[in-house]
């Protein structure tokens, strides 16, 4: 098993597709796709996607690795699971997109075009690892300032109104971040997850 996906030399070179089938979570079910379009049609963010899952799967079959791993489709999934629920062939579409995103980061495809999403993900996972919870305030601040101090302040100001409203209706709390009780156990869970992932040829996106 290779941890890096092969790069096809021509159209419908199946090396990449096979790799995806074997290495991606749910990839084995991807072969079952019959190109009906239910997933792309059901997607909550379909207008924000360049290809949509259905075409992306076709492109994987066609060996279009670069296009697949630089696609915004894999990043814009919001895990609403409409596609997973409705797929007539029970293809776990959302899971596949998530895993492809991991591959894209790992193999360096994601840096340029998905910087924002990647940075947000980093901020998110920091909070999750540290507190066992997401603290929207800290996640937002970390994400805003990830592009530099001035950009951070600009964004902070822009969202100020919304933040105050959230506080007013009790959707944002004031005070220390909420934390889970047994953070030590969380730590071992995360370590175990990283270990499993490494064993399966993938590397944790955090590293």
């Amino acid at each position: 098993m290779t941890s890096v996906s092969p790069t096809p030399t021509r159209k419908y070179d199946l090396s990449f597709a096979r790799w995806v089938y074997e290495n991606i979570d749910g990839g084995d079910r991807m072969a079952m796709c019959m190109q009906c379009g239910t997933c792309s049609g059901s997607c909550a963010l379909n207008t924000q996607m360049d290809y949509g899952p259905r075409k992306l799967f076709m492109m994987i079959r066609a060996g279009m690795k670069d296009e697949v791993l630089t696609s915004n489709t894999i990043w814009n999934c919001v895990s609403c699971y409409n596609c997973v629920v409705r797929c007539p062939r029970k293809v776990p579409v959302a899971y596949i997109l998530h895993d492809l995103a991991t591959v894209a980061v790992r193999e360096g495809y994601a840096q340029a075009r998905t910087e924002e999403t990647t940075k947000f993900a980093k901020a998110f996972i920091w909070s999750a690892r540290t507190f066992g919870r997401t603290d929207e305030r800290l996640v937002s601040v970390l994400f805003y300032f990830s592009e530099g101090i001035s950009a951070g302040f600009k964004k902070l100001m822009a969202f100020k109104g919304i933040a105050f409203n959230f506080v007013k209706v009790g959707r944002l709390h004031i005070g220390l971040p909420h934390m889970i009780k047994k953070r030590g156990e969380l730590k071992s869970i995360m370590a175990k997850a990283a270990e499993i992932e490494a064993r399966h040829g993938g590397a944790s996106g955090e590293k």
């Binding site: 059901s42 207008t47 007539p88």
Partner: protein, 423 residues
């Protein structure tokens, strides 16, 4: 296999649709005694409710009339309506079948004069029109009903209207006290020809069949187009009775789908193309969009597809719609992705017809005996020397012509079982 003569040479056919009737007649016309059990009050099954057949666009009642004439003339065929199998004992050549009958409340001496319907004021949903319209509680199921006998709906029993119905009959044919009953039949072979039912469109929740009046299924479309249907053959929107000018036909509504019917129902593509022809026949300016995954116009039926493809007002869109939304006017908006162009569409329609698939009746009402079945609920009897066979859609998702083939073949297998000739 044994050399023993079968104890009964009678063939039992369960189901009186096109397949059951065919099996019964082919065997009877070769000299065998046949009994047909039909759950409904009349023979004809699903095809009696269809407007036309593909690809000839001829009327199913035309062939049924011939078949009914064949039954009328053939004393070897015995018909029990409103009857089902409650249990089976025995084996090839010697089965004892327990038959359960539900009350019709009308005796065989009914002349179909119609006085009871005139006397009856209660109206009940009309099952022949898939409950789209109403009928009087004493009713003739349809104008070609065979046997031509009225039925009194159970809803009216015990009401004053029931007494009026009884009093109106000059021939004393009304029996309000009729109860469920059972009797036994000795037969040598059994053919399951229990057919199908439309897959329940309510289960496909993104299509909002229950919430949007102008989303109907394909069997309802047949009734709308039928001269004896709820609209006398005019295809009209259920919501406001207006003529639909923009119609969507959605394939694989339930079929080819692990969440619903995993198999392809085979007939829906062609049935929908037939529906496109219905619409185009009635409305000069109407357009029809057919949403599909693969158009399965197998064998010679390809010609039907070719004929329809040349119509500029019929568009084939390769896409399984993801969802039907409720538009601002309450009408259907079909949403999804055109898989050839990658365009995302949200198209409003006047009428959407879901090509719901065929679900075997045996998957819902399991046969009251040990018989081989596949995972979908189709009856697939064992290959060894048994006296039980399947015909028509009970045996798999097939069209009418194939059902007749299957039914004719089943008749021969049944004859082999009861004649004792096989070795």
């Amino acid at each position: 296999m044994t050399d023993q003569k079968p104890r009964s040479q009678t063939i039992l056919v369960v189901g009186g649709g096109i397949s059951g009737v065919t099996t019964a007649l082919e065997a009877a016309e070769a000299g065998y005694e046949v009994v047909i059990l039909e759950k409904a009050p009349t023979l004809g099954g699903r095809v009696a409710q269809l407007n036309r057949y593909f690809p000839k666009l001829c009327h199913p009642t035309c062939g049924l009339e011939i078949n009914f004439q064949r039954i009328r003339k053939n004393p070897r065929v015995k018909v029990f309506t409103m009857a089902t199998v409650a249990g089976v004992k025995g084996g090839r050549g010697d089965y004892t079948v327990t038959v359960k009958t539900t009350p019709r409340h009308v005796r065989p001496n009914c002349t179909a004069c119609g006085d009871c319907a005139k006397a009856c004021e209660t109206r009940v949903p009309n099952p022949f029109d898939y409950n789209m319209g109403e009928t009087t509680a004493a009713y003739l199921p349809h104008e070609m009903a065979f046997p031509m006998r009225y039925v009194v709906a159970p809803q009216v029993i015990g009401t004053p209207d029931a007494d009026k119905i009884k009093a109106s009959c000059k021939y004393d044919a009304i029996d309000l006290d009729e109860k469920e009953a059972t009797f036994e039949l000795g037969v040598g072979a059994i053919v399951w020809a229990t057919g199908w039912q439309p897959y329940d469109a309510n289960r496909i929740s993104p299509y909002r069949y229950a919430h949007i009046k102008d989303v109907i299924n394909n069997v309802e479309m047949e009734r709308l187009a039928s001269h004896n249907g709820p609209t006398h053959g005019r295809i009209l929107r259920p919501s406001d009775g207006k003529e639909p000018k923009k119609v969507a036909l959605i394939q694989c509504a339930g079929s080819r789908d692990y969440n619903h019917l995993a198999y392809c129902s085979r007939i829906c593509c062609l049935a929908s193309m037939k529906h496109a022809a219905y619409v185009r026949e009635q409305y000069a300016d109407a357009t029809v969009d057919i949403y599909y995954i693969d158009i399965r116009a197998h064998d010679k039926l390809e010609a039907f597809y070719r004929k329809l493809k040349v119509d500029p007002q019929v568009t084939f869109i390769k896409s399984k719609p993801a969802e039907i939304k409720i538009g601002p006017d309450g009408g259907p908006v079909v949403c999804g992705e055109n898989t050839l162009t990658r365009e995302l569409y949200q198209t409003p329609y006047d009428l959407v017809v879901l090509a719901t698939g065929m679900q075997p009746a045996s998957a819902v009402d399991r046969p009251a005996m040990e018989v081989g079945m596949d995972d979908y609920g189709f009856v697939v009897p064992a290959l060894d020397d048994d006296g039980v066979f399947a015909a028509g859609v009970a045996s798999g998702p097939i069209d009418v012509s194939m059902s007749v083939q299957s039914a004719t073949a089943a008749a021969l297998k049944a004859i082999q079982a009861v004649s004792g000739a096989a070795r």
